[in-house]
């Protein structure tokens, strides 16, 4: 027990290739993410630093529109790494996530070699080579030499089988292709998985990841985010807007307004050249933040927007 942490920290240094350090400390992570336009709180910064230092995938959960995907993009901007993205959806399979053999090209190759006196085993060896391999995001992320951020977006949308597929990639950063052998990561990517928690991910996936729950920020942070995203927004209006959004989130709504929606709202106000967010303006532009008619009615009633 007492020697294992040391072992781990030794093992966690990348083998071969140049030394990669993603962030040097939590405060460094916060500062560089902020420079990349992402205002991280202390938990986010610490977890992002740990994900880099321990080289473990980072699972980010939270309601829609709180900046889960943006975190991965910000990490790639802050560290100058390239972003490889795998968008998950229902029905995503191995062929779309990992790799696929180019059947058509293989068929052509077989047909082309029929006239020659090549033996079957030669043809067989020939058609299962790199030339006929179509790499998909997971495999390309692992084979890259440059620093890479791998974003696996909306993992909860996939089927349970795909999670099994991810396990090898997430724990050992390798992919086994039966015809070619095992491809091991040259340089471990910074992996970010996002999920809306529409279903519980399996214990096996969660165990391999660090976990971060992103929630709606407090009023002050949200104000900073809105003003940094929407230049030209007056401080006073930003304050009013954040207060209104905070109030809306306290109501029992089907879909509470997200940060992305408050930013949209701020942009709307700029576009309409509105310098003061009073009750009438809120009532008129409420459609930007609330997307259900029952939510709309409730907000108008609770905030007494139309007397």
């Amino acid at each position: 027990m007492n020697h294992s942490p040391r072992d781990r920290s030794l093992r966690s240094r990348p083998r071969g290739g140049p030394e990669t350090t993603w962030f040097s400390s939590p405060s460094d992570a916060a500062a560089r993410l902020a420079a990349a336009g992402y205002l991280a709180d202390s938990a986010t910064a610490t977890t992002a630093y740990l994900a880099g230092a321990l080289e473990k995938p980072l699972l980010v959960e939270g309601p829609a529109g709180v900046g889960k995907t943006e975190l991965a993009k910000a990490v790639s901007r802050a560290t100058g790494a390239d972003l490889v993205r795998l968008q998950c959806y229902e029905g995503l399979d191995e062929a779309r996530a990992l790799y696929e053999w180019n059947y058509k090209k293989q068929l052509l190759r077989i047909q082309a070699s029929q006239g020659d006196d090549q033996t079957w085993s030669e043809t067989h060896d020939d058609i299962f080579t790199d030339e006929f391999l179509l790499t998909r995001p997971l495999l390309s992320a692992i084979r890259r030499d440059e620093p890479t951020v791998l974003l696996i977006d909306e993992v909860d949308k996939t089927d349970v089988e795909v999670e099994g597929l991810l396990l090898e990639v997430l724990s050992d950063f390798q992919v086994t292709i039966p015809e070619l052998g095992t491809v091991v990561a040259v340089r471990r990517p910074f992996v970010v998985l996002t999920s809306n928690a529409t279903r519980e991910l399996s214990e096996a996936v969660k165990r391999r990841c660090l976990y971060l729950h992103l929630d709606y920020p407090d009023a002050e942070r949200e104000r900073e985010i809105v003003t940094s995203q929407v230049p030209g927004l007056e401080d006073r209006v930003a304050g009013q807007l954040v207060a209104a959004v905070t109030r809306l989130r306290e109501l029992e709504l089907k879909k509470a307004p997200s940060i992305a929606e408050s930013v949209d709202w701020a942009r709307t106000l700029i576009a309409l050249e509105i310098g003061d967010l009073d009750d009438k303006v809120i009532a008129d532009t409420l459609g930007v933040v609330l997307k259900h008619s029952s939510d709309h009615d409730r907000a108008i009633r609770e905030l007494r927007l139309r007397k």
């Binding site: 942490p5 058509k104 165990r207």
Partner: protein, 461 residues
């Protein structure tokens, strides 16, 4: 790390987490250690974040984790650095620290802090409040000597609400905004006081003791019947996400079983792109089977919460069923289906349901027998060979006629029937509970919390 006692504390903390129902594996344990080695331990919040990132993988378990972390890694020891410094001069006997004058002074200080919303002062006051007014000396060994309840009763911060609002209004601001702010700050302060009392008790008796007795279960494992007002609101907020998760899971499972007969035309068409070799077969989709659901629920005081949650969940999942009809009863049956309009507002539905409870009662004493008979008389068309019957209630019929005959007729008419009982199995058949006689007619299932409820709903679909 081995000699400092830190490892023991770490292991004890993990044990407590496991005891509270978090599944912390050995791999996660090692990750936590690795994470701590990669960080400085100077900041308590950093250690907290590192533990949270490596050990807690479900947001619903987060409150439990936070409470346990506060117990095992307390913010301060004893009264802390600036605990009771202003009493230093008059120290001697404890009577001086706690008297009417001190109380009045403290309340003024608290009022000021709550009005300005200064978190640091509030934290200091919470520590002082438990130390001064929450101490219960001389109650003998084995009894806790700090009580948040006593402290809150003595100081009674809730009586300050009006004065806080006044102070906020004086600074300018709308009336209801001030009221909300005051409520929120008071709530926050009460939580601080409770945490502080728990910390003091943990310091005296060891964290393991407190971890065993003072940690509430997570929201999906909390009994409907034991829920407090705030818990009920939190549960209500959980209903829609829960329904969405269930619906996604069901759709996925249906799709997994979807492969119907071979679609010959699509398969051949697809094979053209691979030189006539049919590499992939295509199938016709299978039509999902949808049930009609009839829900009959007891809405008398003792089980009303449970009935409301189940109804909300069932209606949130309405597109998974062909048709849903809901009836409430106490000693008379009343149909409530029309309250659940598609896209209706949850809070409104709850208000309507509460208002319509009056229609379900004639005398107001639960009578299952009468309710079943009336149901058979008034709604004979509700149950058919395609419908499933779901009865919700604790089977406590005030020793009246059980109406087993009517119930047998109802179950015979329906395709399936279930009875959900919100009581723990060990309470069945105690007092006036008729769980066994009813259970012989309709299979009875224990359903005490949101977790069990969602599992049940998933299984019947």
């Amino acid at each position: 790390m081995t000699n400092s006692g830190l490892l023991d504390r770490h292991i004890a903390f993990l044990e407590a987490l496991r005891g509270a129902g978090l599944s912390v594996s050995l791999a996660e344990d090692l990750d936590a250690i690795a994470a701590l080695s990669a960080l400085d331990w100077g900041q308590r919040v950093t250690v907290h974040d590192a533990y949270a990132a490596t050990l807690v993988k479900k947001q619903s378990q987060r409150p439990t984790f936070d409470a346990l972390f506060d117990i095992y890694f307390p913010r301060l020891v004893g009264t802390g650095a600036h605990g009771l410094q202003d009493d230093e001069a008059g120290e001697g006997d404890s009577g001086v620290r706690d008297n009417a004058q001190a109380l009045a002074g403290f309340r003024n200080e608290l009022l000021e802090a709550l009005a300005t919303g200064d978190q640091q002062t509030l934290a200091r006051l919470a520590i002082e409040m438990v130390g001064r007014f929450g101490a219960m000396p001389g109650r003998g060994p084995g009894l806790s000597s700090w009580s948040a309840y006593t402290a809150l009763q003595r100081v009674a911060p809730s009586e300050l609400v009006d004065r806080i609002i006044q102070a906020l209004l004086a600074e300018g601001g709308a009336d209801d905004a001030a009221r909300r702010t005051a409520g929120r700050r008071l709530g926050g302060f009460t939580t601080m006081v409770e945490d502080e009392a728990r910390r003091r008790i943990a310091e005296e008796k060891g964290p393991d003791h407190v971890a065993n007795v003072a940690i509430r279960p997570t929201i999906d494992r909390l009994d409907f019947t034991a829920a407090r007002r705030a818990d009920l609101e939190e549960m209500r907020r959980e209903i829609y996400p829960l329904a969405r998760r269930l619906a996604t899971r069901l759709t996925k499972e249906h799709h997994a079983r979807r492969r119907g007969p071979l679609d010959f035309r699509r398969t051949v068409r697809a094979s053209i792109s691979t030189g006539g070799v049919p590499l992939v077969t295509h199938h016709r989709p299978k039509r999902p089977h949808r049930t009609e659901l009839v829900v009959l629920c007891d809405v008398s005081g003792s089980v009303a919460n449970f009935a409301q949650f189940t109804l909300l969940l069932v209606f949130a999942l309405r597109d998974q069923f062909q048709k849903v009809r809901a009836f409430t009863f106490i000693d008379h049956v009343h149909e409530v289906t029309h309250h659940f309009k598609p896209g209706a507002d949850v809070a409104d539905v709850m208000t309507d349901l509460a208002a319509s409870t009056a229609h379900a009662a004639l005398w107001g004493r639960t009578n299952y027998g009468r309710a079943f008979t009336k149901f058979q008389e008034n709604h004979p068309d509700a149950l058919g060979p395609k419908s499933s019957l779901l009865i919700l209630g604790d089977a406590r019929s005030n020793y009246s006629d059980l109406g087993l005959e009517s119930l047998k007729e109802m179950t015979a008419a329906a395709k399936h029937s279930w009875w959900l009982n919100p009581e723990h199995t060990r309470h069945w058949d105690t007092g006036d509970s008729a769980a066994t006689p009813y259970g012989q007619v309709v299979p009875m299932v224990e359903c005490r919390n949101l977790g069990q409820l969602s599992e049940f709903v998933h299984d019947i679909l």
